[in-house]
Symmetry: C2
Subunit: 162 residues, 2 copies
Amino acid sequence: MTPMTPTFHDRAEDLVQRTGARVTRQRVEVLAVLLAARRALSHHEIEGRVNRGAGMDRVTVYRVLEWLTSHHLAHKIAGDDRVWRFNAAGDEPERTHAHAHFKCNDCGEVICLDEATAARSVPLPSGFHPQEVELTVKGLCAGCAPAAAAQRRSRAHAQHRH
Amino acid sequence: MTPMTPTFHDRAEDLVQRTGARVTRQRVEVLAVLLAARRALSHHEIEGRVNRGAGMDRVTVYRVLEWLTSHHLAHKIAGDDRVWRFNAAGDEPERTHAHAHFKCNDCGEVICLDEATAARSVPLPSGFHPQEVELTVKGLCAGCAPAAAAQRRSRAHAQHRH
DNA sequence: GTTTTCGCGCAACTCTGTTGCATTAGAACT
DNA sequence: AGTTCTAATGCAACAGAGTTGCGCGAAAAC
Ligand SMILES: [Mn+2]
Ligand SMILES: [Mn+2]
Ligand SMILES: [Zn+2]
Ligand SMILES: [Zn+2]
């Protein structure tokens, strides 16, 4: 009956509750989707997953994501495809988000690299005042790396034959 | 008469020439603007500066920037405001772009930190294949840091009086 | 000078995200 | 439970950044 594993739904409901603000179906559902995901999700992906259930306006999804972010229940990552990706916030001390990210150059998937504490101590011009450091590793994910290798192989074959 | 310092214009012309492709007024002008800038410029800024001269369609500016980037005469940086910023490529070995960037949280200005060679050796999940590392330091630039400090000061004063 | 073709200008379009406003529904208080 | 208050939702219209298609113009090759 319930479209989402109860655990995520319940955890989400609890987290929204604790903020003191209104706990709406929309907030709980979106947060549950984020909790269930093992990677950062775009607005499109979130909207798709959430609308297997009741249904929710796209604007509402945008507003809920903004709300979750401002209440530190989620954080967002800017992609080079001009799309924000979101994931549920871990148990980091409020407002840090001090971990690195990996972005696949092939499929666009984004994951958090929770262990990697970004390298501080970058030399800045005088007068500049650092606040946060953002570290993104780009490359091929486990799914795409073999495929890319195979493609390179077959291209080499083709050239050879020709 | 000529709106741009001749040096940049000539360097730009030479660089476009060397690619073997057609050297058009538009390519030369845009590249000259990038060479003259001490920071990364958005499409808007480039269009503005370029149109003090003859005049150029916005789509052409987009296409020229894409062309410059693909020929390694410029590189682009994704901002969290969903806007690309460009600057002329330095003398780095082709296609690396291995330096870090600084972005001001107040005015949005982006500069390249050429000395800072990004920290490699980020531990990845197995099967993942790294290709590039992107390092962005966010904070306040030399122009905005004093202003922000002054603002904090006056806010504290106000609270104190009250 | 003629021909070829690449690049430009213009208009229309797409995609991601925002804003305004009337309506709905949490939750607090009888 | 019913009433009230207000925050949040739904819908429609909008905005900004970048893209696409196509006819025309101007580099450069001949
Ligand atoms: Mn993250
Ligand atoms: Mn750079
Ligand atoms: Zn991938
Ligand atoms: Zn600044």
